[in-house]
Assembly symmetry: C2
């Protein structure tokens, strides 16, 4: 999940893990730049994340003209303790490189709609990840459940009325340029985008779904969510937040959604070396796929599409 300014505007309701991250990540996102403006020669940011296993945490940060890095929570404590005892001198050896841009791609697959193939419902996750771990929870899990939504439709012989578009977004973590390119490429057909879903908060047990939509949509969304009651995923909350890649569509009036995941443990692992496949529980991954499949199929097959989100709500 990428830090962006919208975190300041939107309530984070998908669990206190996300709320805590929202508060803490501002220091990673803006800290080095603020430190530079105050005359610092370098900036070290205490790791954003919940675990106490001495793991540094990476992530997007506003580019500052000074060296900047993350230190583990334990080492931040140590530095703070030493600072109370006197002057602390640190020798930093940082080895980041900015390599030339390479061409990369969003990966897009359509399950073509039966009656209105020109109308699109997006089910998505993002393909890129930070390089410390393997990106299993951020965000291979999101890509997997988006693919599984279309796969389940095919397995069940269900072809929805509208087109179900599976997207694995490129470059979410480092500027959302995949999303930006999509918005430019498809700007003329945005009115035909009737809904967009992104999963970008791991694969822990889903409690329902969140998003940003016209309040008039709530009754039908609750009907859809009721289908997910058997797995305990029938909550619906208009949190105003969805996913970094589909947020621009919300600005264009597209109703946007995200599974509401139990995020208590997500930030113990995300953007760290410990984001690996063993962190994915197959049953909970399947529950997330169910949320993605039920929601995307319903949105793609309901008689009338949801109302557009009026600009006045933003």
């Amino acid at each position: 999940m990428l830090f962006n300014e919208k975190f300041d505007k939107h309530m984070a309701a998908a669990g206190h893990g996300l709320e805590a991250y929202e508060t803490a990540v501002a220091y990673r996102g803006r800290g080095p730049l603020a430190a530079q403006q105050l005359g610092a020669s370098a900036a070290l940011v205490r790791t954003v994340g919940g675990a106490d296993f001495r793991l540094p945490h990476t992530g997007n940060s506003a580019r500052a003209g000074i060296p900047a890095a993350a230190v583990t929570a334990e080492d931040a404590d140590l530095i703070a303790d030493l600072s109370k005892q006197g002057r602390v001198v640190m020798h930093l050896v940082l080895t980041p490189q900015t390599l030339p841009d390479e061409v990369s791609y969003n990966v897009i697959a359509d399950l073509r709609g039966r009656e209105h193939p020109e109308q699109i419902v997006i089910a998505s996750g993002h393909l890129d990840s930070w390089d410390l771990g393997t990106g299993a929870i951020d965000d291979a899990a999101g890509v997997a459940v988006a693919m599984q939504a279309a796969n389940l439709c095919e397995q069940l012989g269900l072809q929805p009325s509208r087109t179900l578009r599976v997207i694995a977004w490129m470059n979410e973590e480092n500027g959302s340029r995949g999303s930006t390119a999509y918005m430019a490429d498809y700007k003329d057909s945005l009115p035909n985008h009737v809904a967009a879903i992104e999963s970008d908060l791991g694969a822990n047990h889903p409690l329902g779904f969140v998003g940003f939509w016209d309040p008039g949509a709530l009754p039908v969304l609750k009907e859809i969510a009721a289908t997910l009651a058997p797995i305990g995923a029938n909550l619906v909350e208009a949190t105003g937040e969805s996913g970094a890649d589909i947020d621009p569509m919300a600005d264009a009036g597209v109703p946007v959604f995200s599974p509401m995941q139990d995020s208590r443990f997500y930030f113990n692992y995300h953007h760290s070396a410990a984001d690996t496949l063993d962190k994915i529980d197959p049953r909970e991954l399947a529950e997330n796929a169910a949320v993605m499949a039920v929601l995307s199929y319903a949105l793609a097959d309901m008689r009338q599409p949801l109302p557009r989100t009026p600009p006045s709500l933003k």
Copy 2:
């Protein structure tokens, strides 16, 4: 805590954490040598420990003539998965060095006995630690509670009948040479060592104490433990296990003891980069100091010392 052969003989009753470690650590301790004997050119051992934060775990291992290292649990899983798919080629860059021996010391302090200063009760932990973390739980905590036992006696104006000897053992992790030197230096006065206590399983909540002693000692040990009931530390179990540094004394008939700690989380951190001071809860550390202080003072001040442990029990 050092792996040693006695783990195979003794029951580990201070919590399932220790039991699990006992089972797993054999692979670290003997794995590389066994691999070499089977013709391996190198050995990688899956990390011993309970946490899933991609931390490699270090510790004592029988010296093999082949390169050997620990890999994290996550990477061990990955290697196992890849192995099922075909031949896996690995390039190992290992940088261990065996430096020349340096002189180092046990640190010993006596609170001299009031009536029988020649009779000794040892309260101890070990001073050395593995170098990934700072050794807060293994075993600065043990040294701290041993020092605090004598400190509390002084604060309370209590001078026990026998000498309370605080020892911070050197070189527990890498061969117990501090303990071996002590046994050689004090072999003539071992009959005057009436009891020995070592704390080497962290500083989580103590449930009482364990050790190895003549069964006839149990009634008086239960009386002592009853004093610790207000902090929930009144269990007494003859597990046959104490601490690596005082085990040799048990062979010489000295009753040996260790706090019985809640070890559920200890092996998530021990011998890893995450063994740092924040893992110590001050209240639980104080509880361990209470166990060490009450037990050592009682053993040093009771009218008759405990019976010697007969060799037939070993």
